[in-house]
């Protein structure tokens, strides 16, 4: 689920940027530092949408670096248990398959794949129904439900299922081509 929230962070700036473009430099440094990171509490920071407030800088003794407390608005993405996501399959093995929904990695183990799909080993390992109409392989897009999340300080990992109504392959790239 996506959230638009305000976060705060302290940014250190080298003295050489102190000049007319200090603010722009500060914002670009903030983006570089923050976007794409993951915190267990808020989830993945997808994008910064605006800077609300830049506080008074504090010169650090000895180095000349200045620390600015910056308040910024950003879009974060945090997966929740029970949430439905669309994801791209990245790897298939006999234990199940891995998929990615943006930054988040999801593992679907084989007992959470519908009973009528069976693992086919080979060059392109996949899960296929007995009549061959549905196939899950690398780069397939699947709609899945998150069954559990493991949240570390800097990492979120999910377990998903496609064993439910309206879950499974959305469009098969093999069939499209």
């Amino acid at each position: 689920m996506f959230f638009h929230i305000v976060l705060e962070r302290k940014i250190q700036l080298h003295p050489r940027y102190f000049g007319p473009h200090l603010r722009e430099k500060l914002v670009s440094k903030l983006m570089k530092e923050v976007e794409g990171t993951c915190s267990g509490r808020h989830g993945f920071v997808v994008a910064i949408t605006g800077v609300e407030d830049i506080g008074k800088g504090l010169i650090r003794e000895g180095t000349g670096f200045v620390t600015f407390p910056v308040k910024y608005q950003c879009v974060v993405f945090r997966p929740f248990k029970g949430e439905i996501l669309e994801a791209v399959v990245t790897m298939v093995n006999k234990m199940g398959f891995f998929a990615e929904a943006g930054p988040v990695q999801i593992f679907v183990s084989n007992h959470l794949i519908p009973d009528d799909m069976e693992y086919q080993a080979g060059d392109m390992p996949n899960y296929t129904t007995s009549d061959g109409s549905v196939k899950i392989q690398k780069d397939s897009e699947v709609r899945l439900k998150i069954m559990g999340t493991r949240v570390d300080a800097t990492e979120i990992f999910c377990i998903g299922t496609i064993k439910d109504d309206f879950l499974g392959v959305i469009s098969d790239p093999g069939a499209a081509s």
Partner: protein
């Protein structure tokens, strides 16, 4: 505080969960004689009729070898059914216990005290009702949960296990486990290939395979339903016991002190079953030296005697309304009947008594007429009771006898067990049904009691 519902729970649980537990001897040959399934139930049943008991006494009473009994008790200690206490004691220490037992038994027989006891460790055991209640509930909960989870495939976090070093991983570790050489999961410690752990019930019985899955599901459903059905008496009993105070005998020392104190007090008065003792929650007959079947028979007799001796004065005069509470247990009708039916009938009479007392204040002549009618009705009722009692009693004995039958039947037919497994199970079901019927009766009488109390208050 009554032991009866708890004892019933223990008995039901024993039959439900422990009736085919074998106490395997380490080097005993598996002959028909060595097969001792059902013993566990016998031991638990025996314990429901006792408080703290010395294990040798229990062994003697059950005609079991003390080693065998100890093995069973150790098993139940692990199952949290039984608390045990071991202590080194001399003849004197043993005497204290014997005195306590005798006091609890309400008779002066201190025979055990005279036995020559050397200074060595004696073990005592006692049912731990509070824990039994929790354990049984937990056990049922776990059984159901396991099946339900498997049914909904809700145990979604698949676990993986390393066949080499037996380290376990969950699906949450998948990202770390994946090896980029062969796309499989590898153990972090020994690099062995992990296998999915299948702790599934149904999967064990029929092999893996996709066409089996729907069948497995059906099987699970069936299993769950059967659990619900067959454990119903236990769950009902648990529900009934829920709000009752749990009988607690305390530790062995506490119990000894209390039991002997209560006993001595009992000697001073003539009635051995004074209020003090019943407050200890000792409902059954505490005769530790008697065998199983004997105790059951004596139960009826003992109650009869007590009630008779106590019932006589109440027959002579009508109790005033404020005494009715106490008089309820003592009315004549109750004589010879066991608690369930007796309560129900006495309630009715007490209501009548009360009515009568109220009338006394109003009008004498009217009252006289009423009393005449009342006594006529009363007499008719007694006659009716007399007739009905026989059948009731028989029915009751029929139940306990069938219980016994079932118990001993399982032992006797143990050699044919493999063949007769199914039929035996059906037997167990039947006995549950009987038990459930009795439960219904008990419930009815309880309700009546409540009604009565309300009426008196208003």
């Amino acid at each position: 505080m009554s032991l009866e519902p708890f004892n019933r729970l223990v008995k039901l649980a024993a039959r439900a969960f422990y009736d085919d537990i074998t106490m395997k001897g380490d080097n005993q040959p598996k002959t028909g004689r060595g097969d001792n399934r059902g013993i566990a139930v016998v031991v638990l049943d025996a314990l429901t009729r006792r408080q703290w008991v010395r294990e040798e006494d229990l062994a003697k009473a059950l005609k079991l070898h003390s080693k065998q009994l100890r093995r069973i008790l150790r098993f139940f200690e692990e199952e949290k059914f039984v608390t045990r206490d071991h202590r080194k004691e001399s003849a004197k220490g043993a005497k204290i216990f014997s005195a306590a037992v005798a006091a609890a038994a309400g008779d002066g027989r201190g025979k055990e005290g005279e036995e020559k006891v050397k200074l060595h460790t004696h073990s005592y055991c006692c049912l731990d009702y509070a824990q039994i209640y929790d354990v049984v509930r937990y056990r049922i909960h776990k059984m159901k949960k396991k099946l339900k989870d498997e049914l909904d495939s809700r145990n979604t976090v698949q676990t993986y296990i390393c066949p080499n070093c037996a380290k376990r991983y969950s699906a949450f570790d998948a990202l770390q486990l994946i090896s980029y050489t062969d796309d499989l999961f590898h153990c972090e410690r020994c690099d062995g290939e992990l296998v999915a752990e299948s702790d599934k019930l149904a999967a064990d019985e029929m092999g893996e395979g996709d066409d089996n899955r729907s069948r497995r599901r059906e099987k699970l459903k069936d299993l769950l339903q059967r659990i619900e059905e067959q454990l119903k008496p236990v769950t009902i009993q648990i529900a009934r016991v829920k709000d009752l105070p749990v009988p607690d005998f305390g530790t062995l020392q506490q119990w000894e002190v209390r039991a002997s104190a209560a006993g001595w007090r009992g000697y001073g008065e003539i009635d051995p079953n004074d209020a003090n003792k019943s407050s200890q929650g000792y409902g059954g007959t505490p005769m530790p030296s008697l065998g199983d079947t004997k105790v059951e028979v004596d139960l009826g007799g003992g109650v009869k005697e007590e009630v008779q001796s106590e019932g006589k004065p109440t027959k002579a005069k009508v109790l005033p309304p404020w005494m009715i509470k106490k008089g309820m247990v003592l009315t004549k009708e109750q004589r010879g009947e066991t608690s369930l039916d007796a309560e129900a009938t006495t309630q009715e009479t007490t209501i009548d008594d009360k009515k009568q007392a109220d009338l006394k204040d109003d009008d004498k002549s009217l009252m006289d007429e009423y009393t005449k009618a009342y006594y006529a009705a009363y007499y008719a009722k007694i006659q009716e009771e007399e007739g009905g009692r026989q059948s009731v009693k028989q029915e009751e004995f029929g139940v306990s006898a069938s219980d016994q039958d079932e118990l001993f039947g399982t032992q006797e037919t143990s050699s044919h067990r493999q063949v007769g497994m199914k039929s035996k199970r059906r037997n167990a079901e039947a006995s549950y049904k009987l038990a459930a019927d009795l439960n219904m009766e008990a419930k009815e009488s309880e309700e009546e009691e409540e009604d009565n109390i309300d009426w008196e208050d208003g």
